[in-house]
Structure formats: C-alpha cells, structure tokens
Point group: C2
Amino acid sequence: MTDASNTAGDLTLAIDAMGGDAGAQPVVEGVAFAVSKGLKAKFLIFGDAGELEPLLAQSAARKYVDIRHTDKIVAMTDKPSHVIRRGRDTSMWAAMSAVRDGEAQAVVSGGNTGALMALARLQLRMIEGVDRPAITALWPTMRGRTVVLDVGANVEADANQLVQCAIMGEAFYRALMHVERPSVGLLNVGAEDLKGHELIRAAARVLREADPDMEFKGFVEGNDISKGTVDVVVTDGFSGNVALKSAEGAARLVGSWVKEALTGTINAKFGALFMAPGLRKLKDRIDPSSNNGGFFLGVNGVVVKSHGGADARGVASAVNMAASLARRPFRDEVAATVKSVMQRQEKFTKPDAIAPAAKAAAL
Amino acid sequence: MTDASNTAGDLTLAIDAMGGDAGAQPVVEGVAFAVSKGLKAKFLIFGDAGELEPLLAQSAARKYVDIRHTDKIVAMTDKPSHVIRRGRDTSMWAAMSAVRDGEAQAVVSGGNTGALMALARLQLRMIEGVDRPAITALWPTMRGRTVVLDVGANVEADANQLVQCAIMGEAFYRALMHVERPSVGLLNVGAEDLKGHELIRAAARVLREADPDMEFKGFVEGNDISKGTVDVVVTDGFSGNVALKSAEGAARLVGSWVKEALTGTINAKFGALFMAPGLRKLKDRIDPSSNNGGFFLGVNGVVVKSHGGADARGVASAVNMAASLARRPFRDEVAATVKSVMQRQEKFTKPDAIAPAAKAAAL
C-alpha cells in the first residue's frame, strides 16, 4: 500500500504511542517495521520521551521520527466527555492537534475508541453534509478483502445515514484498494427485496435510484462478508459489530479445532511437518494483524484506530493504511456525492423511513 | 438425545417430506438414520405416496412409518399469507394439523420458514403471555453448544420481547441439553452496562431483577457465541441472523483455507495421511448437520424447522431435536415464568424502553 514515488518529505503521520494495551513498544516497533518495508514518511510520535528514546535508539527508523513528549494518557475507561473537558495534555489530544494544525496528514492511535472519535469530531469536524461518522473494518474473504462499516460508531442508523455510510465506504475502498468501482451491499437478513426493516429497504431504494455511479448490488447476508460477494458491506454500528465479532469468534473456533487436529497425536505432528509451507500460509491468513486498522469515516481528516492489542505487524498495517489514505484524499468526493444524493433522495423515501422504522416481520 | 426407556408407542412425529430442496429422499433417509441410531418413535410422513413408498420399501424404519399422501406442496417462494388462505391441502399444513389434532406430538419440516411459522401460529396458537415467537439456532463452541435466538422470526424486539426470548431460550436449553441452570447473556456491542441500545439495557435490568431463578450473565459480544461464554445468547431476529450467518461464513472461509493447506502440495497430501483421525474429527465438527434444527419457541407445540438443504444426518438431528423436546414439554413452565416476570418488570423499565429506543451512541 506504500507508494515508492513519494519521499519521506511528502507525508507526516502523527502517532499516539500511549494508547495500546502494551504501551509504546509495539507502536515503535510497528513504525520501524513499516519503514523497513518501504513506507516513506516522517513520524511525530507522541508519548513519554523517557520510554520512547531507548526504544528508538537502535532503530533505523530513528531519523524519520520526531518525539513529542507527554506523559499524560487517555485511559481505556475514560469517558469521551471527560477527555474532551480535561484531556488537553494527553498524547491522543496532541496527536490529533497535529493533524488539525496541518503538521501531520494523518493520526494513528491504539487508544480508547470513544475518546478518539470524540476528539476527531471536536478537532477535525465532520465532512460537510455527513450526519454521523462510521468506523470501518477490513475482513479477509474468499476473493480478497471486504470492508464492513459501521462497526461501532453508532448503534443505530436511519436510511439517510446508511446511504451516507455506503457513499463513504465506497470512496474509502476505492482509495485504499485502488478498485475503480467497488461493489456495495446492504447487510440484511435475506437477499429478497421485501426482507428486513423498512429503513434498510428505503436506503436500498435511494442507493439504486439516486446514486447512479455506484455499483450497488442490493442486499447481502452475513455469510456474504467472508464470501467476498461485495467489496463494501454497509450496516449500522450494532449489526456491524455483531457481524465482525461473530465472524472473528467463529474463525478462532475453527482455528483451535485445526490446531487440535494437527497436534493431537504424535502421528499428526509428524504429518504436519510435510505441510509446513501451507500451514505457515494458513497461520498468516488467520492472523488478524494484516487487517488491523479501523478508519474513522466522516470526519474531516485521516484518523486510524489501531487495535489496542495489536503487535508490531498490526501497528504497521494501521500505519500503512493511514499513509495510503492520507495520500489519496477523498473527502471532497464524499462531500459532493453526499450532497447530490441527499438532494435526490426525497422522492425515494417515505417520511417514516427516515426515522428508525416500526416493527416489521422478517418472514 | 433419545431416551431408551420410551417405546415407539409413546411418541409420534409428523414429518413434512415435501419441504426440502432435494425432495423426499434425504427426509426419508434421515428418519431411517435416526431410527437406526435408536430413536423410538412412530412417524407420520406427509408427501407424495408414489415417491415415498419406493424410498421406504427397503427401509428397516418402514414399520414405524405411516405414509399420508398429498401431492400439494408449499413452495419456497409462497408468501405466508397465501399459504394460510390456500395451503390447506399441502403436506406442511397436514403435518401441522396432525400436531394440532393430537395425532402427533411434534412436527418437522424443511420447507418455507415463513409459511411454517404462520401455520404454527394459526393452528397451534401462541403460549399464553408470549407476545411473539422466536427461532433458535444451535452453534458449536469451545466448550459445548450454545443456543442463539431469535435468528429470524422478528427483525426487531422491544425490551419485553427480549426478556420473553431469554425465558424461552433458557427453558429450551434446559429441556434439550439437560442442564439445570443454563447461563443466559444478551447480545450487545460491549460487555459494559452502558453499551448498546436503551432497550437492551432495560431488558438486562428486568432479567437481573425480576427473574431471580435465571443464571443471567449480562451482556455478551459476538465472539462470545463461539467461545461458549454462556449457554443461551438472546437477541432480536436481525442481529441473531447476522451473527449466525457471519459466523457460518467465517467458519467456511477458514475451512477452505485449511483444505488448501492440506491438499496444496503432494507433500501436504502425504502429511495429511498421518493425521487422518484428527482430520475426520475436524470435518465432523465443521459439518453443520449435527446442529441442524431451528426450534419455533413461543408457539403452543413442538415445531422444528430443518434446513432446506439438510442431508440425511441433518434431518436426523432435527428429528431427534423434535423427539427430545416433545418428551420434555416446557410450555407450562414458560407460561408461568413469563407471567411472573412480566408482572414484576414494570418497575425496572422506563416507558420509553418498551418501544424500540431512540438512537443512542455506542461509544
């Protein structure tokens, strides 16, 4: 995802080193790993200088890094409202400010998601015309990678918000994966037009009629995520979170069964020696670090949430995502598309579809 | 799950042979398989006698089967309302009538889910005090099996309906799995008390305060389903369907990767020979047929939906589930618990929590 034609001078990334569960070490190692794999960028790393200096001392990445000292930290248990009122000296706040002030073009943090979102909205503001933010997740599939959104910014979404999610997700996928016309689906409990809530059906009508440029495929179901039926799966933050965590849990369950089958007996262990390359590939595929990085869509800047427990490779994935999106800004495109679709949407939605719908039978 | 102390005379199951995707053959084979594994029951099999007779002619199960001829069928595309008006001569209708009339104690069908539910409600009615039905799904976990409900009867549920779902799911799990106090969790986007919709928080308050006999564990997340954190996972039909299908899709994805690792090279194929027993077990575990059978909770009778594409083993699982639940009726227990909890619930819910809640931030 890095672009060799860019030099370090073109791009600066703000890194919050204090957010993750294991402190600064995997963050610094992740930056070093990304640099060693060819990422050309400068880094402002926000955190405790006394901790960061020794971690960076021996690193080949040292010369690209500017350490910004702060020993204040946003705790995982801090409420977003508390951070907004009292978090001014924290590493997260300072990293976000670097983007707001134009010192950096993107921010990466493994910290408290709610606080990071609140600071992003406060300091960067929303893209014009977008009602609410959404968080993306990348998921490996039978044919590549699918982005699922929203996976946790808002537990509910009305029809307009689903439509905006679809527009943002499509632009995100194009920018990140270099696919000209990503396909988009709305998550539902069946592929037929009559399934699900009225608000999802209303969103489908708007996407079909009011956004002629989108490769909109209609409804998809939970199993379509791993199949890779579409590039972008759109849903509200509740269903997205449930889908993603249920899929992660199932992948881990099958992974544990596989491990048992491969190591359960002496014979099995011996047999496994013959399939070492295949098993290494399998392990890499199940490894979540290559898909680490939740993008905050809708805010006026590039904000990537790294998993709090990410290792160096995971942090490197999030850093590469931030670099890739910072170089291919799509906020103007999103603002323009949202504006034109929202102007045209009214004739495709009934008024009661805009608010969360009344109960509807799934049958 | 069969009870050797019962003789065939105790139990009669009504089987709709016309519903599945592959016609009567897997249904008849499934009944025969269940009988060969020790199930003691009689069977009324509803379908085309000209098709059923030759399938059963050579079967050891023949003597337990009474063929009830009908050549009318409910199509997968039939609307439930159409089936209710015009479906009187179909195999599904006739099978349900056998339960209503006391000829059989349970019905199994692989047909149109919506039509089956509509016929169940029409002919068997709801359990007193239960507002709406729910469909269960069994899911294998790290420590056994978890039941997830609702997985598709209703796309939305208010707080009272979630509470009723929990009461029904707990009774179902106890009856099927012989666990005295199954643990119950509400599916949410985080385990903390403040996460999710207000209606889920209201349901949690009611379960915690108004049903002292339940082993209620609070909120669980999508990944807890495969972990087996609780025995019963309760959610609305939209999220339940999304969770289950997302998990199925992920399990299938990892399964395809495993297959590739095991067969990708000559060496790998050779190595796989040494782990044959472990791989057979792995295959059995990934095989969905041992978990086939969705139970219709809330209706006043035992109705099991078999997967339309189930093979003989899958049909046998659904038939065994029907037999097991028919022998351990829990409808009176459900009615009594729902009544007592609903009487006590009012002080734990705010009026606005009973209807689907207004938007709430997930953060």
